[in-house]
Amino acid sequence: MDRILRINMTDRTAAFEPVPEKYQHRAGRWLTSSIVHDEVPATCHPLGPNNKIVFSPGIVTGTASPTSSRISVGGKSPLTGGIKEANAGTGWGRRLASLGIRAIVVEGQPKDGGFWLLKVTKDGASFEPADDWTGKRLSEIYPDIFAKHGGKDAVDVCSVGAAGEQRMASAGICFNDQEGRPSRYAGRGGLGAVLGSKGVKFIVVDNTGAESVPITDQAVFDGGRKKMASALTEHAITKPEGALNSYGTAVLVNIINEAGALPTNNFRKGRFEGAAKIAGEAIFEGNKERTGETHYNHACSPGCIIRCSNTWHRPDGSVHTSCLEYESAWALGANCGIDDLDQVAELNQLCNDYGLDTIEIGGALAVAMEGGVAEFGDGARAIELLHEIGKATPLGKILGAGALVTGKTFGVARVPHVKGQNMPAYEPRAIKGIGMTYAVSTMGADHTSGYTIAPEILGVSGKLDPLNPDKAELARNFQYATAFIDTTGHCLFIAFAILDIASGFEGMVEECNGVLGTDWTADDVGRIGKEILELELDFNRRAGFTKLDDRLPEFMTLEPLPPHDVVWDVPDREIDRVFG
């Protein structure tokens, strides 16, 4: 990959530029965070002309490396006011990589309003008016976009939904899956609003005439690729017919519920009576009944051998929605007290169609329920509210602005957020290691920014274990490893396998060396991860964040969470030692 495509939406111009020397080996999250750090004024308004959106496929994206078709999207988040990297699984990034495009930077802002379709080819980008496509459900218009641009074998399509057009802070950026459905989201942090504020409705990538991604040392690459594939097909979680392939991430519903850590009714308790009805097993079983077939899951993007993406079917056997992830089943289900899988599926599909982050919307709905807009468990009313969001009614706009704004509007103090982003599907009072990640993540309450916190630090029992420097270092190292994985272009789920199977970890490093011609070792994973985190922390500091923003909400320190009856009681000084 050898060039950056810079697209200016003020003048509607586009030009290639060479990748600067300082970004020589950077891709994925490393590159998006670098460009945002270097080019976006940290105090800019996220919806103004000075914010930028950066798309970057990973180091090995577009090669034969398995489970590596991810795209990183970066910018300043309108939800948190800090830096954001959102990530999706899709073939879109592979096409960019095959065109030698290491990043697309979208900057500026149209003075005359209006929305545009950007067509990216090997020669650059062209602009087509797209106003006629606005205000519509994405699943209704994606087939037409594909038809106009050569079909799903020729192009992949990125878009914002109605929520992004309306610059809602819960708007995500949508990409198509392998069926051409608008279902894969770089969901969190409101980057869809940023793209919408720049008048971009679609980015269509046509890689006709592309060459394959150049590999510097084929033998090293092949060695690494084989180790990676081996680890993925061996590990109980990632292997064929393993946990993810059979039940998808939704298998976590029953597990986290059993652990008493499934946030229910806006984080009031950690067990949900209806959990089993919306869990991965229920999806698997329901599909069997409704279609007469056993459905193992499929790959969201080309080259994935884990295949965790599920599909939920209606009673008549037709497809209702894909994919119903753990986070979505939780946010739109347990967090709202809803245990009807068909209603949860409908809420999921509406989020996909209107261009919304399911986690933030589930959070906003739950806060709204607490504020009296609906009863917990009223799935039908939740569906009505989703339509209000999609149609941008005043109430819809409040909900679309996310959980914290919804809480402020309705006078709800119990908003489970960090830095303005609603927490995902793990209750921090019950699993304190995750609470640490929520507190210190550069992205707000985020479960993917650092997969693990050292288990010695905090146990479910609520007892405080003193942190010693070794443990803080372990915590940091896992966050660094996550940032590195986000740079390679691999799906984060490889972590299950490669953090258990050492040769898989080696394989990840060797793949990168094979592509780039570098001599990285495992030590470089930590070094690079640290650089990425430091860029992000520096941006956030300059944007005005302080240690006071690395805190969990007050109500969690006061209210014991059933069934464990524990509060959040980690001392601030311990949190501050992770990156202190």
Binding site: A236, I237, E241, G242, A243, L244, S246, Y247, T249, V251, L252, N254, I255, I256, E258, A259, G260, A261, G270, R271, A276, K277, A279, E281, A282, F284, E285, G286, A430, I431, G433, I434, Y451, T452, I453, A454, P455, E456, G459, V460, S461, F478, F496, L499, P563, H564
Partner: protein, 105 residues
């Protein structure tokens, strides 16, 4: 180990392990109520006839991450997930508690 049976425990089963409960519908709670006073998870699993090889490392005792050698007492809740359902990030928990059934010998 002598196990007296003057109490009872509630064993929540998931996945293929549901077959050991009366209600094995995956959409509901498959719960075995077992006369029990005190013993290890391994003892219990043996008593119920659950093959050790089918167990994964996601064993929960009263909602806490546990292991085969954890002690189960009267009125406890035990959650057992099979080997193809162990998705929780085990690194969040004490590594001494993370035992794979195979390593128990």
């Amino acid at each position: 180990m002598q196990v007296q049976e003057s109490g009872m425990i509630f064993v929540h089963l998931y996945g293929k392990l549901r077959r050991f409960a009366a209600d094995s519908d995956p959409r509901s709670e498959s719960v075995l109520v077992v006369p029990w006073t005190r013993g290890t998870v391994a003892d219990l699993v043996g008593r119920l006839g659950i093959p050790r090889g089918e167990l994964g490392s996601n064993i929960f005792l009263n909602g806490r991450y546990a292991a085969l050698d954890s002690t189960v007492s009267d009125s406890d809740r035990l959650g057992l997930f099979p080997d193809d359902m162990q998705l929780l990030y085990k690194w969040y928990f004490d590594p001494e508690l993370v035992t794979d059934a195979k390593s128990e010998g």
